[in-house]
């Protein structure tokens, strides 16, 4: 369904590859977590599948298509087989829930009759059957993400890509979103989800692919977020190590084990800000 063969991606502005020699196969119906620190290449991975970017080296096959050979003209038709969900929902603020979901079908030229069948059905699937006429700002974050998921799957895509879909949500709401994604997966859609959410990954016990500095360092069926080889050090874990010093403010999942973390070291990851370029590129 998705196959990476020795895929590398180097951005023009980047000094190191966003993805380096990644080889991976995802089979139909799988539920795969993509984990790793910010800047580890998760987003690049998803963008390559979406064909927002072309691989610098290697081949990517998705749904029988080799993406490197896909002409720009055919990209839109290829993307109709994919659904995408983002951390920031990306809903249209002036359209109702119904119209937000219907938008995805309207721009594909589907008939109004079809839209009036398909949209309520998918809204029921994500648990928003009674909120068709609300505007996005009238909904909670979790409900907005459900709308985004409904929009992503209303066209019944074979693959659902989710880029940190629970990143803006509290644990309880996140669990609800995961239920929706699990149902979609059970119905046959392959789900590939990039996430930072330790609890979710550990609860679901699905296949976990871990990236670090653009390399796949772990591919484990029924895995958890952390392994003994790559323990995750969070802010609270780090405290006892440096009990005598000022607390170091560290974004919990951004760094690998840091028993000897030295912010002044020239090789320290803390000073590598190149991922900011890529975040800016995402915003364009």
């Amino acid at each position: 369904m998705i196959r990476f063969d020795g895929v590398s991606k180097v951005y023009r502005s980047g000094n190191r590859p966003a993805l380096h020699d990644a080889t991976l196969e995802i089979k139909p119906g799988e539920f795969v977590f993509l984990v790793g620190a910010s800047g580890s290449g998760k987003s690049s991975f998803l963008r390559l599948i979406l064909r927002e970017e072309r691989a610098s080296a290697g081949q990517i096959h998705v749904l029988g298509q080799e993406l490197g050979r896909l002409s720009n003209r055919k990209v839109p038709f290829y993307r109709r087989n994919l659904g995408v969900v983002f951390q920031d929902f990306r809903l249209l603020p002036t359209k109702t829930v119904f119209d937000n979901v219907a938008f995805a079908l309207r721009v594909l030229g589907k008939s109004e009759a079809f839209i009036h069948d398909a949209v309520p059905e998918v809204l029921g699937l994500v648990g928003l059957g009674n909120k068709e006429n609300r505007l996005p700002h009238e909904l909670s974050g979790g409900e907005q993400q459900r709308v985004a998921i409904a929009r992503a799957v209303v066209n019944k895509p074979a693959i659902l890509l989710a880029d940190e879909p629970t990143g803006n949500l509290d644990p309880t709401t996140s669990a609800g979103i995961m239920d929706v994604l699990r149902n979609i997966n059970t119905a046959g859609t392959t789900v590939l989800m990039a996430t930072h959410d330790t609890a979710i990954v550990n609860d679901m016990k699905r296949r976990v692919v871990e990236l670090r500095e653009g390399r796949i360092i772990r591919d484990e069926a029924g895995g958890t977020y952390e392994t003994r080889a790559n323990p995750v050090v969070s802010f609270t874990d780090a405290q006892p190590l440096r009990a005598d010093s000022q607390p170091i403010v560290v974004e919990p999942l951004d760094f690998d084990p840091i028993p000897a973390f030295d912010p002044m070291s020239p090789t320290s990851e803390a000073l590598d800000l190149s991922y900011l370029d890529r975040i800016e590129e995402d915003d364009k």
Binding site: V75, P76, F77, R90
Partner: protein
């Protein structure tokens, strides 16, 4: 694909960007008015050429007692010399090229002169013997005046041979320069219009970037995404071209027909009917310009 949806999107784009759209309309209006005026000026030049060149004659001026030019030596052309020129014009070599000719003596020349320059003080200074006797020759093909030059130019008693077309050429080259200037200005304005349309489309795309991002994610075809923007540019430019057509019609009706035609009654000027031939060209030019610059702008913005 639903046309109504695409048209609605284009109309919304126009509404969202009123000030930019108005500036596109104005720039298109001015530039296409220049283009149209240049085209009409060319038509006018063509009209005048065919009108005046047909009327233009070759004048064979004979010697007067005052002239020292050509073969003249302050000697009035004699009857035998006049007869020789006349015989040459009627000869087998020249006659096939000549439509008609007539002879004008001193008195007739003086009459024509006084009627042409009526009211001018120069009339009081001129006497019949100052004005040369002249053979006026109408050629079947006015471009072949060289034959007359060759045949009678060197004859005794002939002061000079003048093709009246040479007087007209100066006027026409002046009009040509004016129309070229108009075209030059028009080209600059058209470049400005194209850039302005491109900027407008980019702004419009930016204000709709959320929709565009989602359209691209769910796989809307490029045609579907781009058409509203291209239509937006075309709609604005078409309004501008229609106004330019109106401006040209006003110029033709009030300035050319209303003023110039009265001031210079002997000259035939372009009519509104001629302008109708220019209008479709302006509309097409405006639409093509807008569509191509909008297409380039939106393609660059949406490059996959």
């Amino acid at each position: 694909m639903k046309l109504s949806f695409v048209l609605l999107e284009a109309w919304n784009g126009v509404r969202r960007n009123v000030s930019m759209v108005v500036s596109v309309i104005l720039v298109t209006l001015v530039s296409l008015t220049f283009v149209g005026s240049a085209a009409l000026l060319q038509l006018q030049i063509g009209n005048m050429k065919s009108y005046w060149y047909d009327k233009a004659q070759v004048a064979v001026y004979l010697c007067t007692q005052y002239s020292t030019l050509g073969s003249c030596d302050q000697q009035e052309a004699g009857d035998d010399q006049i007869a020789a020129v006349q015989a040459q014009l009627e000869s087998d070599t020249l006659a096939p090229y000549i439509d008609k000719w007539y002879f004008e003596n001193h008195d007739q020349a003086f009459e024509n002169f006084t009627s042409q320059f009526k009211g001018s003080p120069v009339v009081d200074l001129v006497t019949p013997d100052l004005l040369p006797q002249t053979f006026w020759v109408n050629l079947k093909d006015p471009t072949q005046s060289a034959i007359v030059f060759e045949a009678v130019g060197g004859m005794s008693g002939v002061e000079s041979v003048v093709d009246q077309r040479s007087y007209l050429d100066g006027i026409f080259s002046m009009l040509n320069a004016a129309s070229l200037t108009a075209v030059g200005v028009a080209i600059l304005m058209l470049v400005a219009a194209a850039l302005l349309i491109a900027t407008t489309i980019r702004l419009s795309a930016f204000s709709r970037r959320r929709e565009l991002a989602i359209m691209r994610l769910v796989g809307a075809s490029n045609w579907y995404i781009q058409t509203p923007f291209i239509l937006e540019g075309v709609v604005a430019a078409t309004i501008g071209s229609l106004l330019a057509c109106g401006a040209i019609a006003v110029i033709v009706i009030f300035f050319v027909d209303g003023y110039l035609a009265n001031a210079l009654p002997t000259t035939s000027f372009v009519q509104l009917a001629d302008a109708w031939f220019v209008f479709p060209g302006l509309l097409v030019a405006g639409a093509v310009l807008a569509a191509s610059s909008a297409y380039v702008a939106i393609s660059r913005y949406l490059r996959v």
